[in-house]
């Protein structure tokens, strides 16, 4: 079976800047080839593991906390860099993205390629809407995600693979 390119926006739009991932997924609609799976997830690990197959190329978009913080600053991490980073007090379900990727690795269920694009959050209080800093950074974050999608298709084209054209998940 041919595999897909999957973009997952991780976050909760009801928690301020945690909505950055879902917002990027919205911004990518119409900007990525048909058949690219655009998914929003709350990051719960068991569900996350179901969002990709072994051969997929996965682009994760996530908000992060950083110390010291610089809201709006972008980061790009490999799966290895992200795996095992604990969620700390702000986790949805204690098992965060870091643990999710570590679990996927332990179970042999990491996708073929995975990259994490992240933005440093300013605030995560209950409520909708992104902070000014994250809102300003959003186009650049979406550009990074779109570039990763393009790279995934190009690398597959070079290797002669057929990319499955499927509706969004």
């Amino acid at each position: 079976m041919s595999e897909r390119v999957v973009v997952i926006g991780v976050g909760n739009p009801l928690r301020g800047d945690d909505g950055a991932g879902p917002a990027v997924v919205e911004a990518l609609r119409g900007r990525v080839p048909d058949g690219t799976a655009l998914v929003v997830s709350d990051g719960e690990p068991a569900r996350m593991l179901d969002l990709w197959r072994g051969g997929d190329s996965v682009v994760l978009v996530e908000a992060i906390r950083a110390w010291p913080g610089r809201p709006g600053q972008l980061h790009t991490l490999t799966a290895a860099q992200a795996a095992g980073r604990t969620a700390g007090t702000a986790s949805t379900h204690a098992l965060g993205l870091g643990e999710c990727l570590a679990l996927a690795e332990a179970l042999g269920r990491l996708p073929r390629g995975l990259v994490v694009h992240a933005v440093e959050a300013a605030g995560t209080e209950i409520g909708t809407g992104l902070s000014e800093a994250v809102r300003r950074a959003l186009p650049a974050l979406a550009d990074r995600a779109a570039a990763s999608v393009r790279q995934a298709y190009e690398s597959r084209r070079r290797s002669g693979e057929r990319i499955e054209q499927s509706p969004d998940l």
């Binding site: 719960e44 992200a82 379900h93």
Partner: protein, 447 residues
């Protein structure tokens, strides 16, 4: 550290507990003098969000309170609004709601058993470590959970925060043959769920007894999930062992109060500490377990369902596993008998008044009350979530667990051991502390 002096332990991040919470433990001269669980709890914020919204909106809004138990919020919200409007949803629509709820029980319980709780009993730091040497078990858990997800996706329209639920029923109901593939998955899930019961029943359980009153909905003929009458099983004290009261009188019995250390409310039931959730449900509803689930419970050493009361909070993982079997059997029963109803929902015209609704969320009884204006605008919302109700009981369990350890002869416990013990005692109750933000933590070094 010496147990004779004063010792304060702060757990700012509770590992493998859903959401945000912290614990403050104080030990004076070898005696635990304070356990304060601080919960950051969104239901109270949502009560404010709801005021001024339309009577059709609570199911969608309250579903966002928790990513793991959105259906519980939706179902309690629907029941409360329908109660206020004088509408009863029954027949195939009620059965479909119950099926959706079974999906959530399967998903939520399995998440807790495999990803959060089992590592405690197997001496593993977390599920990642567990997956490295018990890969088949973890895969079994993920497979079972995925079946719960599939029910939510089929009936709810998507796997998280279902969008197909509305006051009065659903936006769309499935044709009977659309549910057939779910039945196939559920038959596999039944085998996996029974294996899960055997797996957890063989764990080594610390000795512990909780003497909280037990509180659950009771629905004779059914193991209560989506409806029932509030029932209390008291441990000591006056009155009959099991008593009921109408849901309309819930807030006369369950009193909430603010404590300084937490933004959440704590609760008492007729001025007594109480516990809601699997242990309470099993004690109060055990006699109505499906025969397959009842046999699994007996084989797992829980005693005769309907008679036995399990008071060891560490064994809650076994009750949860039995409840997964129950939910799978119930889901299969509903699918087997299902015929698509003629309409996806009944009309729920607004009227002035108040209504109450309660259902059994995986973590325990979840109560909603709404007051409506004549045009359906919500003028008041009250949500009493299971975790807030259980807070005092959890604190008492933590106190007892730590005290028992401090009283044990031999080497003194260090902070790391006590921290782990506190977290275990809290995880027994699977508190859902919020559907919070989701982050990686990252330390950045900058010049």
């Amino acid at each position: 550290m010496n147990d004779r002096g004063t010792r304060v332990l702060r757990l700012d991040a509770l590992a493998r507990v859903e959401g945000e919470a912290s614990l403050h433990l104080r030990v004076d001269g070898g005696t635990v003098t304070g356990t304060r669980l601080r919960i950051y709890e969104p239901p109270r914020f949502f009560e404010a969000f709801l005021t001024g919204r339309g009577h059709t909106e609570p199911p969608d809004i309250t579903a966002r309170i928790c990513g793991i138990c959105p259906v519980a919020y939706q179902m309690s919200a629907c029941r409360a609004v329908e109660d206020a409007c004088g509408v009863t949803v029954d027949g195939p629509l009620a059965e479909l709601r119950r099926l959706l709820y079974c999906g959530e029980w399967i998903e939520s319980h399995t998440l807790h058993i495999y990803l959060l709780h089992a590592p405690d009993f197997l001496g593993r730091a977390d599920v990642v470590e567990l997956a490295r040497d018990q890969r088949a078990a973890v895969e079994r858990g993920l497979r079972t959970k995925q079946t719960g997800n599939a029910i939510l996706e089929q009936l709810g329209g998507r796997p998280i925060h279902p969008v197909n639920v509305r006051v009065g029923g659903f936006y769309r109901t499935p044709a009977a043959d659309e549910l057939r593939s779910l039945a196939e998955r559920l038959r596999q899930a039944r085998e996996d769920a029974l294996e899960t019961v055997r797996w957890v029943a063989a764990f080594d359980f610390p000795d512990a007894v909780c003497d909280h009153d037990l509180f659950a909905l009771r629905a004779p003929g059914h193991y209560a999930i989506d409806s029932g009458t509030p029932a209390v099983m008291t441990v000591h004290g006056p009155g009959p062992a099991l008593r009921e009261f109408p849901l309309s009188r819930f807030e006369r019995h369950v009193r909430q109060g603010q404590v300084p250390h937490s933004t959440a409310l704590t609760a008492t039931l007729d001025d007594r500490r109480y516990l809601t959730g699997p242990l309470a449900r099993y004690a109060i509803n055990g006699r109505w377990l499906h025969p397959v689930a009842a046999e699994a419970a007996r084989d797992a050493g829980l005693g005769e369902p309907g008679t036995a009361v399990c008071r060891n909070p560490f064994r809650s993982i076994v009750v949860r596993a039995v409840e997964v079997v129950q939910a799978v059997e119930e889901a299969l029963r509903i699918i087997d008998a299902y015929e698509q109803p003629p309409r996806p929902a009944v009309e729920v015209p607004p009227r002035q008044g108040a209504g109450v609704g309660a259902t059994e969320a995986p973590r325990g009884l979840l109560y909603h009350r709404y007051a409506l204006a004549a045009d359906g605008t919500l003028t008041e919302a009250r949500i009493v979530a299971p975790t807030a109700q259980n807070q005092t009981a959890i604190e008492e369990d933590v106190r007892r667990a730590v005290q028992a350890r401090l009283d044990t002869p031999g080497p003194a416990a260090d902070d790391e051991e006590l921290t782990h013990l506190c977290e275990r005692a809290i995880r027994n109750h699977d508190p859902c502390i919020s559907c919070a933000a989701h982050f990686l933590s990252l330390t950045v070094e900058r010049a």
